[in-house]
Assembly symmetry: C2
Homo-oligomer: 418 residues x 2
């Protein structure tokens, strides 16, 4: 049997896991690996003849069948991948940013050259999600996703909750442990999760979602006081990537912190674990959870994609038909101001007297119902800390409420998951 010949671009954490895992399979063979620095010591023993510091040695090598791209970022990854496809290679990638920003171009190019692009590892690490949606769940119309897709922020939020610590303190600790990067922006500001939900919603909804239509807020403003209050009210705070689509193709896709009721499974997804909750017809609701990152979990997904190609390679003219992506862009974006949500609002009122009545009146005037109010006493200086949770109402009305609470300080507004 001819072995499927693999060229690997990138031998970092995930690449190393892929290298180790593929050693157990005799129908695939890594023939070349491109790295930045071929002299750097590696956790795996790679024959020096296999190494190159020029990825074009891989994408232009006629003997290579599949290029596995594990370097991330748009450029130069796009240059390598697009060249590889034009050279007749199939692609396996973990590059969520490239998929979110160049997905349409990428899949069109791949179809033009009758090549497959698989990317299970790009979304939710080891959790089987892309292939299940495209194969065994293909009979469904999925219309809602709520997911925890970023391990770093989930780790930080979990530690803030468990230790009662501040965002800043936990971030430092997470950086020391290697769970957060020196520049944590991509994770803590929600970019990583936004890339992932863009692609996940595109394949689940079978219509292309554009990254520029994904609303995004990070976790840097979450206070330890909010964690404590949320707990008291029966919630956890999580960075939720969500997407819904209605019958008219209005797609509401976003990433922001949310209060999640402890009754829901997502509230119990802790530390670096990821989870994806999906609803649709005929399936109903399912939740898939597991490790969202890491050497081996991510390698599981990369290797799964490689083995899927290996199983059909050379046996049919049109491989893996269910795994192809050709989505048009029918979805209409929904502006965050127009969405309806429940809100957690934390208020510090300088004058405790009559403040509840005032809040109640402002909300009632806008037809906003309140589901919870929490005030514990009054400070010596006559200020009061108040937490309000609203029923569902339009985002723009909440902004009006806040502006009308002139003499109060609104310390936090966090959306609450259904």
């Amino acid at each position: 049997m001819d072995k499927l010949k693999i060229g690997l671009i990138g031998l970092g954490t995930v690449g190393t896991g892929v290298f180790k895992t593929l050693a157990g399979f005799d129908n695939v063979e890594i023939v070349k690996i491109a790295v930045k620095n071929i002299n750097k010591p590696r956790a795996v023993e790679v024959p020096s003849t296999m190494m190159t510091d020029n990825p074009f040695d891989i994408v232009n090598d006629p003997s290579i069948d599949v290029v596995v791209e594990l370097i991330g970022g748009v450029e130069p990854a796009w240059d390598y991948i697009s060249t590889a496809i034009k050279n007749g290679k199939h692609i396996v990638t973990a590059n969520k940013e490239l998929l979110a920003k160049k997905g349409e171009e990428l899949f069109n190019l791949a179809e033009e050259h009758n090549r497959v692009v698989l990317y299970e590892a790009a979304i939710a690490g080891g959790i089987p999600i892309i292939m299940p949606i495209k194969t065994i769940l293909a009979g469904n119309k999925i219309n809602k996703i709520q997911a925890i897709l970023n391990g770093t922020t989930n780790y930080i939020l979990t530690k803030m909750d468990v230790d009662g610590a501040s965002y800043e303190d936990v971030l430092k600790e997470a950086q020391a442990l290697g769970y957060a990067e020196t520049d944590p922006t991509g994770d803590v500001e929600g970019f990583d999760a936004a890339y992932k939900i863009t692609t996940l919603a595109t394949i689940a909804f079978k219509t292309r979602i554009k990254i520029e239509n994904v609303y995004r807020e990070g976790i840097t403003n979450i206070r330890k006081e909010d964690m404590a209050k949320a707990n008291e009210l029966g919630y956890k705070i999580k960075l939720i990537a969500s997407a819904t689509i209605d019958e008219n193709n209005n797609a509401d896709v976003r990433v922001h912190p949310m209060l999640v009721s402890k009754d829901k499974m997502l509230a119990h997804i802790d530390y670096v674990t990821n989870a994806v909750e999906m609803s649709g017809h005929p399936i109903g609701d399912i939740v898939l959870s597991g490790p969202g990152a890491g050497e081996f979990p991510t390698a599981s997904s990369v290797v799964g994609d490689i083995l899927a190609i290996a199983a059909e390679f050379g046996k049919t003219d049109y491989m893996l038909p269910m795994m192809r992506c050709h989505h048009d862009s029918k979805a209409m974006p929904v502006k965050i101001e127009d969405t309806f949500n429940k809100y957690y609002i934390s208020i510090t009122a300088p004058n405790a007297l009559g403040i509840i009545a005032k809040i109640g009146t402002i909300c009632a005037d806008k037809n906003i119902s309140l589901s919870s109010i929490l005030q514990k006493g009054v400070s010596e200086d006559n200020t009061a800390d108040i937490i309000v949770i609203t029923e569902k109402c339009q985002e723009k009305l909440i902004k009006e409420v806040v502006s009308e609470l002139e003499d109060c300080i609104v310390t936090s507004i966090i959306r609450v998951a259904d």
Copy 2:
């Protein structure tokens, strides 16, 4: 495009869901449906020319490409399916009993005739599990499964927990609501879960598990008192289907009630929801959960299988290579007496004086450590109710402990999940 021609055997709950769902796809077409009584009123409108009361009209019809078997049980289903395969048809089935009892014969026959047998709906209803294990998780060596695979028993145990009600009372209610059958034996004695874990472990471990080697206990002896005590100690009681395999191919596969710590996700899988937790390398731990039964969730899996066949039908000589099953029987069964478990033991001691010391001595003599002991006072008649939870020890030793507690009544012994 030629449509894939489907023959449906069975038009009950699931069959009706499949009929409705397939209506949305233009690449497949149901051409014939076999039912017991063609005059019975149906929830869907089926042209009478499409109906037959003779399944052989389907399995012998040369125009049919795929036979979907939804009647369950070994015979006559095996007769229909084996005839269909010999007649060159692919099979989609939800028949867990047939798979567990005739799996080897079934898959050998299918390979002999180069036909595929897909059965996503047979295990855990709508949860994507079989196809993910065989495709995207193919790079893994899975070595442990803990799962809730039977909706009826999970409903009963959840209701016992929530309502503080007895098994008998909840069973009656579940029967009235249609969640339990008039003869509930197949569910409450663990047969249904045993069928499912047999097939699930076979494909996850890539070695055939024999149903006769699967240890099985049902939930009929679970008392509401055990539910209450388990709760107090931080556990829920669930009917767990479990399977582990070690490096020497010793496979320990079983179905029995277990105390599951509230720290674990399985403890929070309630009512008719199912869940499968799997561990392996490189993936780590994942949990997949969702509706374990019902018209639409099960239809999702049946339709997913049909669409997978439709996608490759006629395009290759060897369809869906990753979905094929040829497992040898290398696994060595492990006897329940030889397994190591933690145990919850509920004891009524007629003479409270010195009973804790006695239990402690009997266990210490056998090197069994205790992790929890719960005794709340002494009754007026000097009896005491005591709960003990042990550390891991061999099952045969626990039987000795029980026999040495001569003057006590051991009211329950329930294994405790790791």
